[in-house]
Symmetry: D2
Subunit: 180 residues, 4 copies
C-alpha cells in the first residue's frame, strides 16, 4: 500500500537573496499554515520531507543549514518549522526538488506516490517540482495557503497550470480531505 | 581554469553488508593509500569530495553516518579517513556517484573537470562512477592501489574496461604525476 | 565558437487531441511566423531542430509522423512548416524537449548553447523546455508571436516566468537582433 | 500484467569504426542466434525493440540508418536482422540504451519490466544497459551467445558482473525458459 508525504520546500532560509523582500510578506502568511500541516502530519504519522536549497558549503549537513538560517534576520520564520527527530531532509542544488537529488529513491523506499507540497516559491520551485512529480507519475496536492510567492499574479497562474496541466489537486491547509 | 578533485567513494562504512568479508582484505590494503592521497590533497589544496551511500535514515546529516561507521566493528578502517572541516560530502542512493546526486552541480561550482577516484568497490561503484563521469565528458583517473574489490579478477577487468573503454588513466597512489 | 539553433516544438500535429480547439486559433496565427523563422534560419545557415511528440508507433521514423499529420484535418497548418533535407528531428515522449531525448547530446555535437524556441504550447511544452534549458545553462530566446497557446492568460504568465525566472529573452519574429 | 521485450542493441551497423575488426568474428557468431531470437519473439508476440546508435545526421529516421548499414561492406550481418513492420526503434546517443533516450517511457507504455538483451558489445553497451536497467528496477536477461564482444576476457567478466552485481539472468539463445 502506498501513501502520502508532506514536502516542505525551501523554508529553511535566511531570506537574504535579492528577491527576499518580495517573498517575505507571503512567507509570513504561509508559515503558520505550514506549522499546522507539520503538526497534522506528525500526529498522523505521515512522513515529512524537507527539501531545501543548500547554502554555504556542500557538506550535506542539515545542522549547518539550520544554524545558518536560525542565525539570520528572519529566524522567526524558521523556528516554527524546524525538523524534528523523524523528519527526513534532502538537499537540492536549485530549482526542482527532483533535479539531481535522491528524492525519487527515497520516495520509492517509503512507498510514497502522493506528494503534499508546501513552501516557496509558488511560481518557481513549487511549480517546477509539481511538473517533475507529474512527469514521474506521482500524484500532487499543493496547499494553496501554505505556499509563498514573489508575484501574486504569477503564483495564481502557476496554481492554475498545476491544476489544469499537471493534474494537481489544489487545497487549503484546513481541508478535511487532506491526507496528511 | 579547471582542476581536479579527489573523490573518496563509500569508505565511511560499517562493513557489515553481506559481501563485507570479501571486501575487507582489499579495503585494509587500500586504506593507507587513501589516507596518503587525502594528505596530499589537503596539503596541495585539491578539493576532497566524499561520496557515500547513506545508511540509516535520510537526514542528509553526514555526522550521523560518521558516528554509525565509527561505532561499527571496523572503526579502524574509518578513522584514518575522516572528513575534515574543508571536506565536501555528498550522499548517494546507491551505485554511481552521479545517480540522483548533486555531484554534477557541485563539480560545476568548483570548476572541476577531472576526478581522481579512490574507494570501493572497484568492480561496482567505482566502475559505474567512471562510466557516468565519462558520459558527462569528465576526465577520470583511478588510483589502482587505493581502490578495494570483492573479486580480484572482476576488479582487474573493471580497471581494463575503465582504461580501454572509458579513457580513464590508471595510476598508483605514489605516482608523481597524480594531480592531487 | 558556439551558436544558436531554431527549435520548432510540436508543430507536426494532427490537432485532434482533446484541447485542440483551444489551441487552433493561436496556432493559425503562429504558423506564418514560424514559417518566416524557418526561412530566415535556412537562408542564414542556422541549424533547425524539430522536437516533436510521437504519435502512433515508436519507430523513430519521422516520415511516418509527417504522413500522419499531413493526412489529418489540419494539414494546412503542417504543410508550411515541413522539415527539409537539412532539418534535424528529435522525438520526445511528452512534456519537455529534454526529458528522455538525445537533444542535449545533439546540441553538444552542434556546439549550440542558445535555443530560439517557437511552437506550442506556450504555457506547457515551451515553458517546460525553457526551464530545462535554463537548468542546463543554455541561453533561451522565445519568439512570442511564433508560439501558440491554449489559454491566453496562462501563456502571458508563462512568458513572464520565462523572462523573470529563467532569464529568457522574449522577442518577436521580426526582431532584427534575433540570431536566426 | 507486465511482460518481456527483446532488445536488439547496435546490430544495425556498418562495422567500420576503429575497433570493428575485433568485433566482427564475434558478431558473425551472434547474428544467427539473434535471428533465431527475432523469429521466436515475432512468433510469440513479444515486443521487439531495436536500440541503436545513430550515424550520419540526426533525423530520427531509421530508414536512413538501415540504408546506410545495408550499403556498407558487412550488409550480410545486417540483412538477417532487419526490423519488420511491428518492430519498435529507438535511437541512442551512445553508451547505454537508457541514456538520453525515450526507452523508459516506451517500456512504461508497453508495460514491460523484463528486458531480454542481445547485440553488441557485451563489455560496453550491453553491460552499461544492464546496469541502467538494474538501477531502474527492471529485470534483465542477457542471451550470452547472442551478444558480441571485442575482447573475450572482458566480455566474460562483464557477463559475471551482470550476473553477480546486477542480478541479471544469463541464458543461451535456445534456453527453453527464455520468455521470448
Amino acid at each position: 500500500m502506498t501513501g502520502s508525504a508532506l514536502i516542505v520546500i525551501d523554508m529553511i532560509n535566511r531570506y537574504e537573496h535579492p528577491d527576499a523582500e518580495l517573498l517575505l510578506p507571503s512567507a509570513r502568511q504561509a508559515v503558520p499554515r505550514i506549522q499546522h500541516l507539520l503538526e497534522r502530519a506528525r500526529r498522523g504519522g505521515t512522513p515529512v520531507i524537507y527539501v531545501n536549497d543548500n547554502f554555504g558549503q556542500w557538506r550535506s549537513h542539515h545542522g549547518e543549514i539550520l544554524e545558518t538560517a536560525l542565525d539570520g534576520p528572519h529566524a522567526d520564520l524558521v523556528k516554527p518549522l524546524l525538523p524534528d527527530e523523524d523528519s527526513l531532509f534532502v538537499l537540492k542544488a536549485r530549482h526542482s526538488i527532483f533535479f539531481e537529488t535522491p528524492l525519487s529513491y527515497l520516495l520509492g523506499q517509503l512507498d510514497v506516490d502522493h506528494l503534499i507540497m508546501c513552501g516557496q516559491a509558488t511560481e518557481q520551485c513549487v511549480l517546477y517540482s509539481a511538473l517533475d512529480a507529474h512527469i514521474r507519475h506521482l500524484d500532487v496536492t499543493v496547499v494553496r495557503d501554505a505556499v509563498a510567492h514573489l508575484h501574486r499574479d504569477l503564483a495564481e497562474a502557476a496554481l492554475r497550470m498545476m491544476e489544469v496541466n499537471m493534474s494537481a489537486c489544489i487545497r487549503s491547509a484546513d481541508a478535511e480531505d487532506l491526507p496528511v
